[in-house]
Amino acid sequence: MIHREEDIIRLEGACPVEDAEALLQHIQQGAAALDWSGCTFLHTACVQVILAAGIGVRGTPADDKLARWLAPLLLTAPPPPTETES
C-alpha cells in the first residue's frame, strides 16, 4: 500500500506490482522521501522505480530479507536534491 503524507511517501504492508505506477506518479509529483518502515513486501517493479528515481528511503522495512539485502542497495533519505540522470 502506498500512502502520501505531504512530501513523504509511505510504503506500508505489501506493495505489489500494481503499486509501481502510483509510486512513480507520487515521485514525479515531487515527493521528497520514501518511508518504508512498515513495508513487508516490495515488488521488483517498485524497487525499479525507486532506483530509477534515485530517491532515498527512510526507516527499516518490516521484512527481514528486505532489511538485510535490499536496504543496503537503496539510497538513504534524505535524498540528494539533484535531478535524476538521463
Binding site: 505506477e21 521488483t44 517493479a45 535524476t84
Partner: protein, 765 residues
Amino acid sequence: MNDDLLEQFIAEARDLLVEAGEELLALEREPADKARINRLFRSVHTLKGSSCLFDMPALTQVLHAGEDLFQAVRERGLALTPEMVDATLSALDQTGKWIDVLEHTEALPADAGPRASALAEALRAHFQPAETPAANAQPAAAVLPGSPPPGLAAWFPPATLAACAALPGDLHLISYAPDESCFFKGEDPLYLALHIPGLAALALEASAAWEGLNQLDPYQCNLRFHAISTAGAAELGPTFRYVTANVSLTRFAAVALRGGGQPGLPAIVRDLLHTQAEMLRQEAPALEMAGRLAAAAAVARHALIACGEDPHIDAATPGALRDALAARLAAPEPSASAATHETETPAVVEKDPGEKSLGEKSLGEKGVTDQSAGAGRRVLRVDQEKIDVLMNLVGELVVAKNSLPFLSRRADEHFGARALAREIKDEYGIIDRITQELQGAVMAVRMMPVGQVFQRFPRLIRDLARKLGKHVELVIGGEETEADKNIIESLFDPLMHMVRNSLDHGIELPAERLAAGKPETAILQLLARQDGDQVVIEIIDDGRGIDPAVIKQKAYERGLIDEHRLSVMDDHDAQMLVFAAGFSTAATVSDVSGRGVGMDVVREAVEKAGGKITLASALGQGTTLRLTLPLSMAVTRVMTVVQDRWLFGIPMDIVLETVKLARSDVTRIKSAEAFLLRDRIVPLRHLATLLELPQSSAPPEEIPVLVVRAAGKVFGLGVSAFGEVMEVILKPMDGTLSRLTGYSGTCLLGDGKVMLVLDLKALII
C-alpha cells in the same frame, strides 16, 4: 537512447569484434595458447557487458552464449573444434551485422530475436551437454577452480566480498537477468533473488542506463541481479527452474576471494606486485632507493591498469608502497578499495600527479612502462567525414595559397610595385610553410596501417581453404606500414580478388602438392612495406605458378590475342594476360573465383588509385603479385612546363632533373634525337610532337629539357620553358573526358585557370 553512448558502443564493438575474430583464428592454430583464450574471453565478455547498457536482448543473448563457451574453454579445458570456431565466427559475423544496422537505425532488426536464439543454441550445443549431464531444467554452472569470476568487484562492495571470502568451501555466483516482460508473466525477480538459498551477497544493476522518469516504463524490467550463495548447484537449481535461460551460475572457491587483494587479480599481476615489494625490501643507498621506488610504483600502477584495477597506490615512501602492495596482495581492504567501483568498460585512468615526477626517473623500467602505457594511450575517435572536410579545406588552402605568386607577379608587372611584389613573395613563403605543415598533419591523421585491411584476411583465407579443401598458412608481414585512408580502403577488394585467385588457381590440393614434392600446407604471404612515397604490397604463394603456354592458348581461344601474338609473345607478357578483360582460366566457374571478372577489375581498381600491379610467376614454384600504390593521393606535386602558349603539369615524382641543352648538343640517330647526359645517352622527345601541337617557327638555340622516368624508361622532354613546382589537387578526368589518354587529370591554378596534368607513360607509348 543516448546517442553518444551508442556511437561509442558501436565503435568499441567493432574493435572488439575484430579483436575476437583475430584471436579466434590464431587460437584455432594454437589451441593451447592460454593468453589468447583469455583475451578472446575478455573481448566477448566486455562486448557483452557493454551491450547490456542498451536494450538489445538479442545481441546480449548471443554474446552471452559466446562468453559461456569461451569460459568453458578457458576454465574447463574444453577443446576448441573447427565447428566451434565456425559457430563462433558466424555469431561474431551476425553481431557485426547487427552493429551495422544499429548504426543506421539505432535498433536491432525485427528478426534479431529468433536469430539470436538459433545462434546462441548453436554455440551452447558445443559445451552444454558436458555441462549438465542430468539434462534437467537446472541452470548450468561453470566452475572456476582458482580465480573468482570476473566482474565481482564491479557488483559487490569490497566489504561484502571480504565477508564472502571468509566463508568456507565453494561459492556460487548467480547472475540473473530477467526478461524485460517478466512482470507480465507474474514473475517477481527480487522475490526470487531474496529467496536464494544460502544467500551471502546481493547486488542490483540496471540493464540499461536509467532514462528520465518520464520515459520510465515501470512494467518493463530493467534490473539485473547478481548474488553470491553458499548453496550448491543442486539446491540452487530448483529456485531458478522457471527462469533457467536467464540465470548463469559460476562456481568458485571462497578462498579465491581471499587470495586476491582485488578479486580477479591475475597471477602475473600478483607476481609483479610481489616482485616490486621484494625489491623494496632490499637495503639500498637513498638515491638508488628513490629510483627503485619510482620504478616499482610505475610497474605496479601499470600492472593494475592492465588488469582493470584501481591504479592509485600510496608510493610516498618505500614503506608506504610496500604496505600498499601487501594490502593489494592480501585480503581486500574495504576502506582502501572503496573507490574501485567501476564497470568493465575501459575506464579513463587519471594519472597520479606524483607518478610523473617519480616515473620519469625510472629509466630502467622504461620498456615495461612504455608497453603498458600503450593500453592507456589516449585516442580520440573522430568521424571520418570530419577529417575529409579538413582535408578538402587544406586542399582549398593550397590552391588559394598558390594564387599569391600570381599576385606578386601582377604587382610587379602591372603596377610596377617591385617592393610590394617581394613582400608578397616573402609572405607567401611563410604561408606556404604553414600550409605544408598543416597538410602534413592532416595527412598523418588520415594515415592508417595496412594491417587494417590485412586483418580481414585470416578469416577469409580460413573459410576459403576449408571450402576448397586446401591447407594454407597465411603469413602477414609489414602490417604496420601506413598509407592514406583512401588508399587503404581501395585496397581490400583488389587484394581479396588476388588472394582468392591464388587460393583457387595457384595453390594446389594437398595430394597434388605432396606429389610435386612440396609440403602439404601451402604458404600464402601478404607483405607490405614502404618504398619512398609508395606502398608496396606483395601477395606471394608457393602454388603451381602460371603456365604461360596455357594462358596464351586460353587467351587465343577467347579471341584476346591473334595468331601472330600467340607465336611471338614472351612468357612474361603471356602471364600478364591474366589481367586482360574477359580472361578466366578456371575450367569450371566456382563460387570462389573464376567468373572472369577478377584480375582485370583488380588492375583497374589499382590503377584508379594511382598504383600499378606487376606479376612474376615461376611454373611449379609459385606466383608473386606486387601492388605499388602511392602513400597518399590527395595532393600531387607537379612541375609546370610551358609549351608555346600552353601550360601543362608533370607529376614531380617522375621528374629526375631539368637541363638546358644547346641546339648543337642534340645528336640525331636516324629519325630519333638524343643527347649526352653525364656519359649517358638519353633519348629526346619534344612535348609539342607528343601532343601534336603546332610547332613555333624557329627552333630555339637553347632547349629546356626535363629528364623524366616514365614506363621504366628515362628520357628527355623538350619544352618551351619551365614553370614553377606547385602542389595541386588532381581531379581525374571524368565523363566523356575520361576516355582521353595522355592526361592523368586536371587541376585548378591560383589564377582560376585549369591546367592539364600529363600522363607521360601513356604519351610515349
